[in-house]
Symmetry: C2
Subunit: 315 residues, 2 copies
């Protein structure tokens, strides 16, 4: 029986896990990412992390069939190079060839959001379908596209940036520099902005009470107020569902994956939220009368998606 290692490089730490072919994680460990650190040191640390978890799982190096890596930034997966990653300061770092000098096995690398999508598609809510879209609703809107079981990242590996498709061309300003991206309407950041605007306009709204109790305005404020029967809160929530849904509908209209998987902080609102998004998509799906609806599901794997997706790169 063969085992796999998945490495999830984050801005704060590097996590790795040994997994079975069925996606069971046998052992994990982590080390702190050094900002602006020497890539050579980071690779040595990664190798030692891999050795450590292999031993922890009671295995030897021969039991490991391959190592997959998920990294932030633009990745050239054919060459195994991190072309550019802003938050861990890597610039043309040949991560795969460097790690191969320590451990000569099959090693692959892809973008971290793509790996999370592959993990969710392979072992999470998308495991019954062959093509799926993973959408993360957090600080930004991240997407990963799985077509026929494989990550689609397009020319130069630089695609999959679904958060920056147009939703309202010329509308709200986006962090990317353009105006009107989906992310500028459907991220938690956008939701908080819209919540604050509505609170200013409606001094009587229960959103003020909810925010005071939570200590701040956050992505949950409008949902909680809506549940208490607050009209202004409900309006913010419904508009947000519309924004999330309209972006998903755009992608369904063009790509029609078999399933849409929703993760990230906002997905913690649970089925209550997911069901509203599903209803929006079903009503506005192009050719809604003729074409079957595309299921929208809440992602299941949470923080394990990155490790499992990275491991799935070499399965």
């Amino acid at each position: 029986m063969k085992y796999y290692i998945g490495i999830d490089i984050g801005g704060m730490s590097i996590k790795a896990g040994v997994t079975t072919k069925e996606g069971k994680i046998l052992a994990t460990d982590t080390f702190v990412t050094e900002q602006n650190g020497d890539p050579a040191v980071m690779v040595k640390n990664m190798f030692e992390l891999c050795e450590k978890i292999t031993a922890k799982a009671g295995l030897s190096k021969d039991d490991i069939a391959g190592i997959g890596i998920g990294s932030p930034g633009t990745i050239n997966s054919a060459e195994g190079v991190v072309v550019y990653a802003n938050n861990i300061k890597m610039d043309n770092v040949p991560l795969v060839p460097m790690l191969k000098k320590y451990w000569d096995t099959e090693i692959k690398i892809d973008n971290d959001a793509n790996c999370a999508a592959l993990g969710e598609a392979t072992f999470g809510c998308g495991k019954e379908v062959s093509s799926s879209l993973f959408v993360t609703l957090g600080t930004g809107v991240g997407t990963g596209l799985i077509l026929d079981g494989k990550i689609w990242s397009g020319n130069s590996g630089a695609g999959g940036e679904g958060g920056h498709i147009a939703l309202v061309h010329g509308g709200e300003h986006c962090t990317c520099g353009e105006d009107g991206c989906w992310e500028a309407y459907a991220s938690a950041t956008a939701l908080i902005r819209d919540t604050k605007r509505a609170m200013e306009k409606h001094p009587d709204s229960l959103m003020h009470k909810v925010a005071a109790e939570m200590g701040k305005v956050n992505g949950r404020t409008c949902f909680e107020a809506a549940k208490l029967g607050d009209k202004a809160g409900r309006e913010v929530m419904e508009k947000y569902v519309e924004y999330v849904g309209a972006g998903i509908v755009s992608i369904i209209t063009f790509i029609r994956p078999d399933m849409v998987m929703v993760g990230g902080g906002i997905s913690n609102e649970g089925d209550y939220f997911i069901d509203m998004v599903q209803a929006y998509c079903d009503a506005h799906n192009y050719g809604a009368g003729h074409n079957p609806p595309i299921p929208v599901r809440r992602a299941l794997l949470k923080n394990d998606a990155g490790i499992l997706g990275a491991a799935a790169l070499v399965m």
Copy 2:
């Protein structure tokens, strides 16, 4: 040496051609499509058309390796069924099994826009790349997506409707029933609407003179006026280029095909127009500083794209 037949089903006529593997058309012929006609009669006519062009090309049935069909509507290509086609009134017609009763060879079918995209990608301006987007700017905005040399049409074969991705969510009304689709801004129909609005607002614009000379307002009016130095005409043209470009940028951001191929009536404005679209895309491409630009090219095959793409289905 083997030859292929491509059949292009249109609202007015059915065209077919015998082609080589290199995309050279050796013989073609056509018959008039009967509206609301009996599908059994249509299939018999299609078979006779195939026999006729095979003889015209100086070949026998044994020389034909396969027959490809491009049909309007939603197609179940796995089963060879036209699920629904509005303009030739077909409803669950098993076209491939029906034609196989006359000619027992490899027969495949796909949507006509997808076939045109495959034709252009295989034998036209996209032949050097493996993934491409075909955009038709005509009465509507049609798209066809080729990924790794194959048509991508997604779940139930109902994807690829890129004309109905959001451009300005909640904006101009679209024929599909939604508001703000790309088609509602980037089709020739939308351009004519915007030209007429600008003419009303600018009674002194040279667009009035151009339209009077052409006998009507059409998709060329603003381009011609702009070339004559008309400011209002230039504004309409530049806004239209922005709309076309912004939709392409959305798709590049998410899918990043290797090339975008532009066809349809408006593409006849030629390099003057295509170069402006390219410039827009290069300036607004997500990560424009880090990622190489995606080339935008004018489609080459014109009316032959359908026959060649249908034939390419069985190559």
